[in-house]
Amino acid sequence: MNSMQRVLTALSQKQPDRIPLMLLFSYYGAKEMGISIKEYFSNPDNVVEAQIQMHKKYKTDCLYAFFYASLELEAFGGKTFFFDDGPPNSAEPIIENFQQILQLKTPEIQECHGIQKVLKTISALKREVADTVPIIGVVMSPFSLPVMQLGFQKYLDLMQFHPILWAHLMKINQQFCIAWANAQLQAGATAICYFDPVSSSSIIKPGYYRKTGFEVAKYTIGKINGPTATHFASGRCKPVMADVIQTNTAIVGVSCLEDIGEIKNLCDGKLSVLGNLNGLAMCRWKEEEAEYAVKDIVERAGKNGGLLIAENHGEIPYQVAEKTLFSIASAVEKWGTGRI
């Protein structure tokens, strides 16, 4: 099986030749290329080369076109901070007072420099692999993007005390998210990862999610012209799984704080699970710990397809050693094949 066949088989709840390994490399590519993170993301050619190289090196089953989350803030006029050894991070929020929401305009995808670089990356990756390897595009959910647009504290205040302005902001963000997701699919992405950490039960209570993040996700995912994976960026999702299924997403990203087997049972064959290696603990793992972690996931959720093995937060940290990644890949070969 090639990677695409392997992933599609798993998603159809059947056992592939090997459980797919979805190591999501974003800024880790800079380490692979031996250049700074800022330089790495300045040119799509760097990302394309690193993605192909790492896919072959670690026998992964996807290419990841994600640059960094604050690229979307840049589209709205915000700025990004780059670090030597960590993910690029959003600078100050762009909305200082709630009334500014009324003046906010939906950015045009064609006019956003950073976004165009991602689209070029996806097109080039598609030329390289055609339909043999899934290419994953990424969007921030309209419901979670405001953490960067306003700051977390202010966003919680907006939701709680200014529902009309919140609804207005959701409308703008939904328009942007749908256009951005569909542009990535048009450029050649196979699926879209819908990052929605604020919807996690770690952040808002399930009852509130049903009235807010769920409705936003249901509408937005419905307008995205391809399959989606909903990712809570290591936040818990068990209390809202029944709702997540109703958003018609295909995959759910599972936190290492939860039992992936239990979440898979809740999915009941309607969704596949992605996860749930602990990316931060991974920074210190020895070979046997990496193997144990993979084996544990396979034992909990490996039967009858429906499992994609990945780190739980959505990107491999810069501090993870290459030998650990090799150990993970070997462990997937060892425990993720044959009769499970």
Partner: protein, 202 residues
């Protein structure tokens, strides 16, 4: 009474919470109830039973109630040590704000350094202000591991200080706080209160 007040906080119902407290008399009774309930909510968040937004709204409501009751002047504990809190290398300030509220509600006076861009700047600020206990909030792993550099800055100057760390990287990697040389980890805001109370007793 306690359960009703807690339920009002978890529902972000400020009016109900304030009204319940108005039935009580005596500052100490009110403060004790607030701290007890906030600490319980903090512990429940640690177990995954309460959401971060509920902790934030609960602490915010209690802060407003205390401000109103005590005319913006909290009763601070006697011999309050010099404590500061800061976010290291990030613009996400929610964690710091919540811990700050919890500590104030528990009678600790605390300096808020805001967001600090490097361990060197943080060390300089702590030493200038003669801080004894420094609370550091981080969101990203690469910032969390910089606490090690901060320790080195203090060691270079032979400056004695206790460091309490918190935030996502320390929650997901339970050994990290030790590895970076922190003196303690606070998983929940209630932990921060207990640790500072213990340190003060030493």
């Amino acid at each position: 009474m306690k359960e009703a007040f807690k339920s009002a906080l978890l529902d972000s119902d400020k009016i109900r919470a304030s009204s319940l407290l108005s039935d009580l008399s005596g500052m100490e009774t009110i403060t004790n109830l607030i701290t007890m309930v906030l600490n319980e909510i903090g512990d429940e968040w640690e177990k995954g039973d309460v959401a971060l937004s509920q902790i934030y709204m609960s602490s915010r409501i209690c802060e407003e109630i205390l401000d109103k009751l005590f005319s913006e002047s909290y009763t601070t504990i006697p011999n309050n040590p010099k404590i500061a809190i800061a976010t290291l290398m990030d613009f996400h300030f929610l964690g710091r704000r919540i811990v700050n509220s919890y500590l104030r509600a528990n009678g600790f006076a605390i300096l808020d350094f805001g967001g600090i861009s490097s361990p060197q700047e943080m060390a300089r600020k702590a030493m200038e202000n003669k801080i004894e206990y420094l609370l550091i909030s981080t969101l990203m792993y690469h910032a969390a591991i910089k606490v090690r550099e901060l320790k080195e800055e203090f060691a270079k100057k032979n400056y004695s200080i206790k460091i309490l760390v918190g935030g996502a990287p320390f929650i997901f990697d339970k050994m990290l706080w030790k590895e970076v040389g922190a003196d303690a980890i606070g998983i929940s805001p209630a932990d921060a209160v207990r640790i500072l109370q213990d340190w003060k007793q030493e």
